[in-house]
Amino acid sequence: MSVSKTWVVIIGMTLATLLPRVIPLLLLPGRRMPRGIERWLSLVAPAIMAALLAPELLLVRDTLEGPAFSLFNLNILAAVPTFWVAWKTKSLFGAVATGIAASALLRLAL
């Protein structure tokens, strides 16, 4: 692939990522929104987190290949103690450390 094409892609991607990030924050704050919309927006955060997480857990996929469904994969097993620690301690650091340790130990054990 040529160097110039890579940089054309980078510049195009910069616009494609920057505009959705910045425009709402320049236009929306200070505007009065109906309470219903504010309540809907407060539910966007958990919905996005779950939408990012669920395929990572349930569908093991290679970056370059298509999705492959497999239940009882290591990710699901490692998620069990991670969920538990995250819920009990409310510590983000604890959740990440538990997840990494569980994943490594499971790989050693199985």
Binding site: M1, L25, V44, A45, P46, A47, A50, L53, F83
Partner: protein
């Protein structure tokens, strides 16, 4: 929820630190653990697909979006057109419109510059932390932007490190670091469910289900965006706050 749990939650996001810049930086530490492996994986893949170091670092510096960067590498490798790559990036990152919009009601007193800085460096991870902190009442722009800056520098550094490590790490999954990202999302999700109640649980379950269904259907670039829209709407319709 009891007092004890509230104190623990504040401690977990570094609420106690008085200096806002340090407070923001401290909050970034657990998420660094989550996304640095992704940044390194991006650098490694870029190196294997024959990109130069400057291209690799440049994409991290300018694009600053993990999923899109990994996707762009595989599309470049597959010979996709510029328009196809930029279009897919736009679809994947359109979820940031929702994130930025959901933060905006809490930023009434912020200046335009602060808003632009917050938005320009918004990521899934920083959004999640901002969302939790703003809801807890800490809307200091210095803390929020400091967190963004640390993540920005660390993301680029991780990409370069991955590039230079090249093939040194042959099986990163043996160290469990491939699970760091899902573990981070689990931690972030749990702190949101704790404060937002039943509608949030419904939003999460529905968002996850729609996202998985779309990935299975082959519409991977739409999964997060449509999952978020469906989840928030389901939580809104089914749950009473």
């Amino acid at each position: 929820m009891g007092n004890k749990e509230n104190m623990q939650k504040h401690a977990s996001v570094g609420f106690s630190q008085a200096n806002p810049v340090l407070r923001g930086a401290k909050r970034s530490l657990p998420v660094l653990l989550g996304f640095m492996p992704v940044g390194m994986a991006y650098g490694l893949l870029a190196q294997q697909l024959g990109l130069g170091l400057w291209d690799t670092a440049g994409m991290s510096l300018f694009v600053f979006a993990g999923a899109s960067q990994l996707m762009a590498l595989s599309m470049l490798h597959g010979g996709a057109s510029v328009a196809a790559i930029v279009g897919a990036t736009f679809v994947i990152n359109f979820r940031h419109v929702l994130m930025a919009a959901s933060l905006s009601p809490m930023l009434r007193v912020w200046s335009k510059w602060h808003c632009a800085l917050l938005g320009g460096m918004l990521t899934d991870e920083s959004f999640a932390i901002h969302s939790v902190c703003f809801a807890e009442g800490d809307t200091d722009p210095a803390a929020a932007i400091s967190l963004n800056c640390v993540i920005y520098v660390a993301w680029t550094a991780a990409g370069c490190a991955g590039y230079m490590l090249g093939t040194l790490i042959e099986r990163p999954e043996a160290w469990g670091i491939n699970f760091a990202l899902p573990a981070m999302f689990i931690g972030l999700l749990m702190s949101m469910l704790d404060t937002r109640g039943r509608p949030a649980l419904i939003a999460a379950l529905c968002g996850g289900a729609v996202s998985v269904a779309l990935v299975l259907a082959g519409a991977e670039s739409w999964a997060t965006l449509l999952g978020a829209l469906a989840g928030a709407s389901a939580g809104y319709a089914k749950g009473e706050a």
